[in-house]
């Protein structure tokens, strides 16, 4: 079974650690970016199957900027995008730009993120 590649764009180091512990290594390959611009670069380079994206990011580019860049790139057309953020007010805007899932950090069980990732990647055309 090929590993599903997930790019996690998240600046909180503790959350990065939590993700690392949560996603089974036998199933997923995790890549991390802590800023929006690094996230864009890595997305273009590594063509992940799924991007887990935070909205509030340090530096000049926030999650929406990353989202727009990914949407513009035809090579990333098949990449699924899941926003995992603390902002619960941006759902509508995010879905209108084109995302596949929107989860609010404090409101969900950790397991839910893995479940959602599996669900999205299962339906992904290969």
């Amino acid at each position: 079974m090929t590993l599903k590649r997930i790019l996690i764009i998240e600046d909180d180091a503790e959350l990065q650690k939590i993700y690392l512990e949560t996603f089974p290594a036998a199933e997923f390959e995790l890549l991390f970016a802590a800023t929006g611009s690094d996230g864009i670069t890595q997305a273009k380079q590594n063509k992940p199957d799924l991007v887990i994206l935070d909205i509030m990011l340090p530096g000049g580019q926030n999650g929406f900027d990353v989202l727009e860049e990914i949407k513009k790139d035809p090579e990333l057309a098949k990449t699924k995008i899941m926003i995992v953020t603390n902002l619960d007010s941006e759902q509508k805007v995010a879905f209108s730009i084109g995302i596949d899932a929107y989860l609010v950090k404090a409101d969900i069980k950790l397991e839910k993120i893995v479940e959602k990732a599996r669900e999205l990647l299962m339906f992904k055309e290969t």
Partner: protein
């Protein structure tokens, strides 16, 4: 000429000379001189008497004229004084009207502007020319806090015109430069005798108040968001630990971990309540709609608070028909917040070994949830206030329970947003009390009606 005629001529001359000073004075308007009537009676005597009578008559008429004159003069001066008074009052009125910090507008019965004070020009930017004689509803547009245009018929001045009652309202006026000014408007009908009615509008600039409110809401919103990050990290770390618990953690550690987890979840709920409140204030609350199984939603809320139920050894009971489904269309997060808040109150204000009974029934259009508890209840005089924002009852404070005072405020707000209702009674309903005769506390019964179809 004979001596006689000479003498007579002298006599006549003498007689006439006596009259001359009187006539001389009369010619310059002085009728004060009496005629000296000669002692000897002769042919001039009637003339003298006649002139004297004329003099008397003239004097009397002059006196009367003078009197009239004087009274006219005094009336005139009174009128002058009154006129000055009116002018002064008008100047003062105008100064007051223009000096006060509020906009004052007077409208006629058709809602047209007949007067607008200086402050109205300053606050809204319209000139007198742009306002006078024009319909107020067209010159000054009003918006609600969600930035929707308020139709003219619904504006306070129209209501005041129609109902002849005072109306007050907070809204946003659109200025000439199209920016919005937050205002508090009071409309008072005026009825002057013999004229058609009108309205006096007074509007206060609410900018500073509004700005403070916005700052407060932004602060709450920011603080709550900031709190969510560490609370979320805590939650997920506990979940990671719990996955290992069976092998690596002692039963005591597992139990404590569960308590930490539940308290963390409560804190997240509270922070979310704060966020929701500030969002309501800002008119930014949004809803999604899903079909929800109410029984499952209740079970989920109970599971979250099971530890608190167990800690107090509370007997929880849910009665419903297992053969039927109770489905409503609602926002899942909001319904969860409603159930979690009601359940939390029933637990928090309950006694050790108390009871909570939830009964579900349904009508063609709604699902009815009734929750009764054996808790400390609500003092009767405080019942009407429990839905107020940040309100906490006196016995809740005495019992040293924790809470934000936002729970029921949010519950009611969410319910009303989708045409649901909530009724609270304390003591709890009789049937429930009868089944728990050993409980001494008054208890509370909450009846919530959830409409099956979302009709917003």
């Amino acid at each position: 000429m004979s001596d006689d005629s000479q003498q007579y001529k002298a006599h006549v001359t003498d007689r006439i000379d006596k009259l001359l000073p009187v006539f001389a004075k009369a010619s310059i308007g002085d009728f004060s001189q009496d005629i000296e009537i000669p002692e000897t009676d002769d042919e001039f005597s009637p003339l003298y008497a006649g002139v004297q009578i004329m003099l008397d008559v003239i004097r009397k008429q002059l006196d009367a004229l003078n009197e009239l004159n004087q009274s006219l003069a005094s009336q005139l001066s009174e009128i002058e004084t009154a006129k000055k008074q009116v002018e002064r009052e008008k100047i003062i009125d105008e100064a007051i009207l223009n000096g006060i910090g509020d906009g004052v507008v007077v409208l006629n019965s058709k809602g047209e502007i007949v007067l607008a004070n200086y402050q109205t020009e300053v606050l809204l930017g319209f000139s007198q020319q742009e306002m006078l004689q024009h319909p107020y509803g067209e010159v000054v547009l009003a918006y609600d806090r969600k930035n929707n245009l308020i139709p003219t018929e619904k504006r306070p001045f129209m209501q005041a015109l129609r109902s002849k009652q005072n109306y007050s309202y907070d809204c946003f006026y659109q200025k000439k430069d199209l920016s919005k000014l937050p205002v508090s408007v009071t409309a008072a009908p005026v009825q002057t005798p013999g004229e058609e009615s009108g309205v006096v509008l007074v509007f206060k600039d609410r900018s500073k108040e509004h700005q403070l409110q916005v700052m407060r809401d932004e602060f709450i919103s920011m603080a709550a968001h900031q709190l969510r990050t560490p609370l979320g990290v805590m939650r997920w770390n506990i979940e990671l630990l719990q996955k290992k618990q069976s092998t690596e953690l002692s039963p005591e550690a597992q139990e404590k971990l569960q308590t930490i987890y539940n308290n963390n979840a409560r804190m997240i709920d509270m922070v979310n309540d704060l966020l929701s409140t500030s969002r309501i204030e800002q008119g930014r609350m949004s809803y999604s709609v899903e079909k929800i199984d109410v029984v499952a939603a209740i079970r989920a809320a109970v599971a979250e608070q099971q530890v608190f139920i167990d800690n107090k050894k509370i007997n929880f009971q849910l009665t419903c028909d297992p053969a039927t489904q109770y489905i409503v269309e609602a926002d899942p997060d909001k319904l969860h917040s409603i159930l979690a808040n009601l359940l939390n109150n029933a637990i928090k204000f309950n006694v050790e070994n108390g009871s909570i009974v939830v009964e579900l029934t349904q009508t063609p259009n709604s699902v009815i949830l009734e929750m009764s508890d054996t808790g400390i209840g609500i003092p009767p005089d405080e019942l009407p206030r429990v839905f107020e924002k940040f309100y906490r009852t006196s016995n809740a404070i005495q019992a040293q329970t924790q809470g934000t005072g936002l729970g029921l405020y949010l519950v009611k707000f969410y319910l009303e947003a989708w045409k649901g209702t909530i009724k609270l009674s304390s003591p709890a309903k009789k049937e429930f009390k009868d089944k728990h005769p050993d409980q001494t506390q008054p208890g509370t019964t909450v009846v919530v009606e959830l409409s099956k179809k979302r009709t917003v």
